[in-house]
Every structure is written in C-alpha cells, then in structure tokens.
Amino acid sequence: MPSMHNHQEHQPARSDKGSAFTPSRRSVLKAGAAGAVVVPALSACGGDGSSGSGSGGRLKVGIAGGSAKDTLDGHKAVDNTDIARAHALYAGLCYFDTDYTIKMALAESIEPNDEATVWTVKLKEGLKFHDGSDVTADAVIFTLQRITDPDDPTSLAGQLTTLDRDNLKKVDDLTVEVPFTDPFVTFLDVMAEYLAGIVPEGFDPENPVGAGPFKFKEFTPGERSVFEAHTDYWQEGMPYVDELEIINFPDETARVNALVGGQVDVISQLPHSQIEVVEADDNLEVLESETGMWLPFTMRVDKAPFDDERVRQAFRLIVDREEMVDQALSGHGTVGNDLYGRFDPAYNEDLPQREQDIEKAKELLAEAGHEDGLEVELVTGPISPGAEAAAQVFKEQAAKAGVTVKLKQTNSTEYYGDNYLQWTFAQDFWSSRNYLSQAAQGSLPGAAFNETHWDDEEWVEIIEEARATVDEEKRAELIKQAMKIEYERGGYIVWGFVNTVDGFNKKVKGLEPSVTGHPLTTYGFHLMRIEG
C-alpha cells in the first residue's frame, strides 16, 4: 500500500532557487542539494559495549499529519503518524534497509521452494515480544492470518490474495511453511513492508504488543503517543533512547516552529520553503534523501485520446523533466525516465533518458489526428507536496506543443473518492517499491490501483513469467524487457522522484539518508541517540 501523505501539506509552487542536482538516477544515498551532510553515527555506537539500550533520555519527534483516526494497529496504518508508530512498535520478518536492499529482521532466513509456491520462514532464536513472550512460529501464522482476514482485511491483504491462509504449516517452534496457490517470488517484498509487523497470538490493538524497538506506553489519538525502549529488541544494544514521544503536527508551520523552539528534537517533512530557516540555525540540521517516491501523471490507455499510443508518447515528450523537478519540487528531486522501480536491482539502465522534444511530440500528435491541437482535462489536487505545482508546469509545457490542458482542482477527499482510478488524465503518488511489487499494485489488470487501466498482453505475459521465475538473473532479464515495453507505450509519465527532507537538532545522532521514501531514516527511531 502506498503511504498516505498529509493532506494539509502545501508547498510553494515556485522557487527561483537553482537546482544543484545532476540527475544521476542510481546514486544511492546521496546527500541533497541543500548540502546536508549527515555522518552515520552508527559506527561510533559500538563503543559502549554491553548494552546501549535505554541510556539516553526521551526523544521527541514531530511527525507531519495525524488526526483523531490515528491508530496503533500497525497492520492498518494509513497516516504518516500511524506509519511512524508502526515502525516503533513492530518488527517484521525482514525489512528494507536504507538502500532498499532487503535484510532479515526477526527471521533468520526466508527461502522459497523451486517454484516459489512455498516459502520457509526460519525465525531467529531467543527473540521476545514486548510482553516477554517468545517470538514463535505460531505468532507468524497468527499474523499472516490476521493480515488476510476476509472479514476485516488489512492494508496488505490485497497483495497476499494468493496466500493459502488455511494451510500455513508450523514445522517446529521457529519454522513455518507459507504456501501460495500461485508462484509468488515477491514474498520478501511484501513481508518487508512496515504493514507486516509480527504480533503475538491474541493481539489487541488497544494494548499493542509487538517486537519493535519501542513498547507502548501512552496514546491519545490526534495528539501524541509515548513509548519506552524494548530491552530485548532483536538488534543488540538498540534502541539508544529510553523513551520516544511522537507528536502530531498536521500544520507545517507549527512543526517547524516546534523544532526551532526546541520543543521537539526531530521533525519529518520539512517544507522546502523552510529549509533555509533550519539551515540558518546553528543548532539544527537538514536531512535530505533521494528516494524512489514518484509523482506520475496517469493516462488511461483505454480512453481517448490516450488509447492512441502516439498521444501517450507525445505527452511524455512534452515534459521538460529538469524544469519540472526545479519548479514543482524546488529542485529537491531527481528526473525520471517514465519508469518506476528505480531502486530495483533489475532496473533497466539501457533505456536512454527521455528529454523534452516538442517537435517530435507535435509530429506524433499530428499522426494521431490532432494536428489542429488537442484539449484535455487534468485532474489535480493536494494529494502530495508538489503535485499541484507539477500540474501547473505541465499545463505550460503542453501549450508549446499545441495541447490545451484544463486543470480540474479537487481536494484530496474528492480526488480519492468514487472517481479515483476512473480519471482519464490525472496524477498520483507512489512510494519506493521494486518493479514486480509495484506492477502487482498498479499496473497488472486486476491490480487494486490500476489507474492507467494498463492491460498490454505482451507485457502481462512477461510479468506473469517473471513472477514465477525464482532464478534471479532470468527474472531480472524479464523485468528489463517489461520495463522496455512500459517505456515505449505505458500510461504513466514518470517525470521525477521526490526527495524526503527532514529537520533535526544537532544533538540527535544516528540519522542518515534513506531511499525508502519514509522520512527520518525510514522512521529509524532505534538508531537515534541524544548527545549533550
């Protein structure tokens, strides 16, 4: 599931600030244009040996968003503050590291059989939940069944439809066999999501127990929540702080003010307009990360005028990507090449970077019968910072190719209302995800969010094959082919990837850039220490 970004976020549409970015798509962990150089402080932490756990005060964190619907149920996290709490409370079998590689967490290993129809999960020994009980095979089975409960499906249920949930098999106390009705090579991707935290049997979201770095202490929906260090956390010596307080800040000005005033130590999602304010303060620092989060324009391939492949390609050629990143994201992003899955190990590097080519676009439009110009409606709204500005920029760029774009303004409730996934030409946002997982979410026919109504036979065939191919090299080859097809005739205009920008007090150590698209080192509160 995509992470929900705060609806109230508004970004200034324009900034004259020049971008210092050169678009280098694969430069993992690059500090951004704002000059944020953050030294990972982890190496320094080994020093205090035995137990660094719980040695350093209360970390106060201001998170963008939050409201009365806040939840402690990690499987149903929607808003940013829910996601932050999910990262604090729960640990999964595996997780996405800051460079988007998948690492084992509670699991010792997760291995597929030859067809990827059965995955064997082996848990690490001696792990404990917050209540002191053991992390066992039963808990894994309970968790998978809870996530896919047909009467009360949670966010990940849509990605686990082929899980044979009645035949989960406990081999021994630490081993589970997870069967699927079809080959399922992306099981690790799904289990690495923050929505897949392992919970003990009889889990009660009112009094949540997990195996994450922090255990539950207090919670007021719409306001704040307090946690204390879980001393038996699976990562030795972590967390470093005794207590964690997560405070809601729906309003960005209040959030920045709280950081400047020292009421919180760390904030997520620093608005671009406030970066200079934070940089000017001797006590504060900016953390900027390139991410795989993308803000595409979506063209329905089954509706005029986009049912004509030439129109789609023309629209892709209309976009001046550099200008869009500069204007819509104030330069805090990277240009895209109409492809998602930027950090997938199989990402197709061979396809040339698409550039603006108005002449070619006009040619294609004329071939498609629009030589006298074309008028389209673009549905936009405050769905993610930069989205509305991008729509404005597109409107101006399109005019050069004789395309008249009429903007339809919506608010986010209307945008994601009954017409969501039905708009002919609209926008959306997606967080970092590997190619096959993203395809299962947004591009396969039958995917829950197939907003472009993409249903290309050749492509679907390749994807189906890739999803059943356990051999990584062969699978990577298939993925590259599929990417080429989307590059040549897909319904997305992927013009750029958005950086996350956070602010923190210099006394907090341990933050480092992360490409996952989740702020604050993927809400890595267990990594943070307070000094001085």
Binding site: M1, P2, M4, H7, K60, G62, S67, A68, K69, D70, T71, V78, D79, D151, D152, P153, S155, A157, G158, T220, P221, G222, E223, R224, I247, F249, P250, D251, A254, N257, A258, V260, G261, Q263, V264, N411, S412, T413, E414, Y416, G417, D418, Y420, A448, F449
Partner: protein, 316 residues
C-alpha cells in the same frame, strides 16, 4: 421576567435543534463518507464495505440522524467514527483544555480592556486616547489568526525567542506548561479586547458628561471619588453585554487559534472531525459552541434586563 427568560430558553433549545439538523445535513453534502475519508487512498472495495458495516453507514440518513438524536435524550453523544471512543470521553479533556484557554483569556482581557477604555475616556482627545483608538481599530480589523502569526514571528521564532511558538504538551494537563500558553492566550486577549475597550470608552464619556457627574463635581467631591464612585459603576452596565458577546465569540474564535498553535482543544477536534467526516464529533462540538453562544447571550440579556428598571418593573 421569569416568563421572558423561559421563553428565551425555549427558543435557545429550538435553535440548538435546528443547528444540529443543519450541521448533520451539511455533513451529508460533503463529498465522501467517513469510511472513505479514513481509508483515504487505501480504500479498496473490500475494506470500504467492512468499515461501512462497522460504522453503520449503510443505514438511511434519516435513521442515522434519528439514532443520534435519540441517544442525545439519554445524554449519549455516540461514538467517534474515527477512533471508536465514546464522544464524551474523547472530547472531555479537549473541552477542559479549551475552557482553560478561554478562561485565562477572559480573566486577563476583561479588567485590562475595561481599564484601558476608562483611561482613554478620561484622556479624551489627547494623544493616549488617539493612540488607543487607532490600535483598537487596527486590531479589531485584523483577523485573529493574523495576530497570532505576528505574535509568533515577534516573540517566538524571530530574534526574541521568549515563548514557545506551539503547544507540544498533552491535553490532559495544559496548565502544566504555562509558558506554552502565553502566546495563544495573548492572541485571544488581543482579539476580544477592542470592542470592550471602545464600548467602555464611549460609555464612560457619556456618563462623564451626564448631569449627575457634573452635579457631583459641583458638590466639590474629589475627582477620584467622582470617577470611581459615580461614573465607573454606571458606565459598566452597557459594557457587560459587550463583554458577554465577546466571551461568546471566544467559544468559536478559539478554533482558528487552536489550529495555529496546535493547541489540543475542541477547535482542533472539530477541524479533525470535519476532515474525517466524523459526524458524531462534529455534532457534539458544534452543539457545544452553539450552546455556549446561546447561554452567554441569554445571560447578557438577563443582566441587561436586570439593569433596566423599566423592563424589570413592566414585565413583572
């Protein structure tokens, strides 16, 4: 007079009923329902169905309203859609936070505004009076959140970092962090004071020009006695009604201020509830604000009536 008051009380209740109906219908007119607003982009058909079932959103609109109003008669405000807590329990701490904020503002604003108004009248047409008129005119015209932003810029984030710019404490104990209350209270004080000051000034001038004050002066009473024994008590009557109206305004005006300072009160709860289409909470908060407004105005009327001998006698 008792009949008059009962009559006003009846109309007050009628107003509340109409308010609840209008607000309920207005929430129905908003695009999307609570289930959609809560699930946002994650609203797959399966999850929407499950949540609508849980929240009884499939009932006809009239039935939903009927259930709510029936609950009201047994003082049950229902459960919040957003977090399944009883509305009373959810709003309880927030109401007391807001009341604390408003009470502080009222306690600070009333005596200061009355004193400034009286002083201005005594200095009529001199520099101090002109300055007061100018300042009250400007502050009355500027919206309260603009005043708040200005105070934050000057006293919190600018060179003078005297007070915190936002409230980061808990709604359970707002008085435990008094320094965080300074700016929100100051904003409210500046917002409610101008009409009180201007009314006090006008009323005081009128009294000072009256014959009985002249008489007192001619009697040779010291000026101090003239002002505090004869003039001020008579000037305060009409001001009381303005004070009441301003305090009633506080109940609604606090919404924007709470959002600005991230103060965990009913105002924040209301904004939140509207975002979430959390109808039971929206209803409870709007009714509360409307009720405060009605009660305060009723009290002002009673004070006004009681102060007016003609009405007092004639309606007996």
């Amino acid at each position: 007079m008792t009949r008059l008051i009962l009559q006003r009380l009846f109309y007050g209740l009628l107003t509340l009923f109409v308010v609840s109906l209008v607000v309920f219908l207005a929430t129905q007119a908003l695009p999307g329902d609570a289930a959609r607003a809560m699930l946002g982009r994650d609203a797959t058909p399966e999850r929407l169905t499950a949540l609508r079932e849980q929240l009884n959103l499939n009932d006809p609109v009239a039935v939903q309203y009927g259930k709510w109003i029936a609950g009201l008669f047994v003082l049950n405000l229902g459960e919040s859609f957003a977090n399944a807590m009883p509305v009373a329990e959810y709003l309880g701490p927030r109401v007391s936070s807001s009341v604390a904020l408003m009470a502080l503002a009222a306690i600070v604003a009333t005596p200061i505004a009355v004193a400034i108004g009286a002083y201005s009248a005594l200095r009529r047409d001199r520099a101090a009076d002109h300055a007061t008129s100018m300042v009250t005119l400007i502050t009355a015209a500027v919206p309260e959140f603009a005043v708040g932003i200005l105070l934050v810029l000057v006293f919190a984030t600018g060179s003078l970092q005297l007070f915190p710019a936002v409230f980061a404490g808990s709604s359970e104990a707002v008085l435990e962090s008094p320094e965080q209350l300074v700016l929100p209270v100051a904003t409210l004080v500046i917002a409610v004071s101008p009409p009180i000051i201007r009314m006090m000034r006008a009323s005081m001038i009128e009294v000072l020009e009256s014959e009985y004050v002249q008489q007192a002066r001619l009697k040779g009473l010291p000026e101090r006695t003239v002002i505090w024994r004869h003039a001020a008590p008579n000037a305060i009557g009409p001001v009381a009604q303005v004070i009441a109206v301003q305090l009633g305004w506080l109940a609604g005006g606090v919404v924007a201020i709470e959002f600005l300072f991230r103060f965990p009160g009913v105002g924040m709860a209301l904004m939140d509830a509207i975002d979430n289409r959390d109808i039971p909470v929206i209803q409870a908060v709007t009714l509360l604000i409307a009720a405060i407004y009605i009660v305060v105005n009723l009290l002002a009327d009673i004070v006004g009536l009681a102060a007016n001998p003609k009405v007092r006698v004639s309606s007996r």
